[in-house]
Amino acid sequence: MTKEDIVNRIWENMSLSKKQSAEVIDQLLVIIKDVLNDGERLKIGGFGVFEIRERKARMGRNPKTGEKAPIKQGETIKFKPGKTLKQAVASE
């Protein structure tokens, strides 16, 4: 599934044009990024939580060559699935 499929689903279910449906989904993604960028977590009941987590510096490995490569300290996006989503996925 791609963004296009989600846009089509919005377009089919609502009285928005195709262009508006695409704009709305783009805007939705921009807001998620902005919220996380502000250091806030986003909690969608039943689906899960998006948040920024700190990543410690560590020694990694280039999986192609096997050489050691340092991984910088930084931040990473963490998605923690909610109970409903976890159960639905596990029961399939």
Partner: protein
Amino acid sequence: MTKSEFIAELANSVDYLSYREAAIVVDTFFNSIHDALVAGDKVELRGFGSFKTKVRQPRTGRNPKTGDSVNVASKRVPYFKPGKELKHLAE
């Protein structure tokens, strides 16, 4: 931020979208991903990231209270991989 605050934010930033409509958009968006993951599909959102499921191998766990070992069956779990743009933003 909660879902209702998120819906309000979306309704505020798009002039032709009411709160009620924004709620439908947000529900449709997350339901689509939910349904795809349950069906075993992968969801790719360019620039944002991708959602898919991974299979956890069966393992021997422990009851943290009693210390008894218990068998944990293999199971499918949802997984999100942030895209380059999103990772970059977090730098």
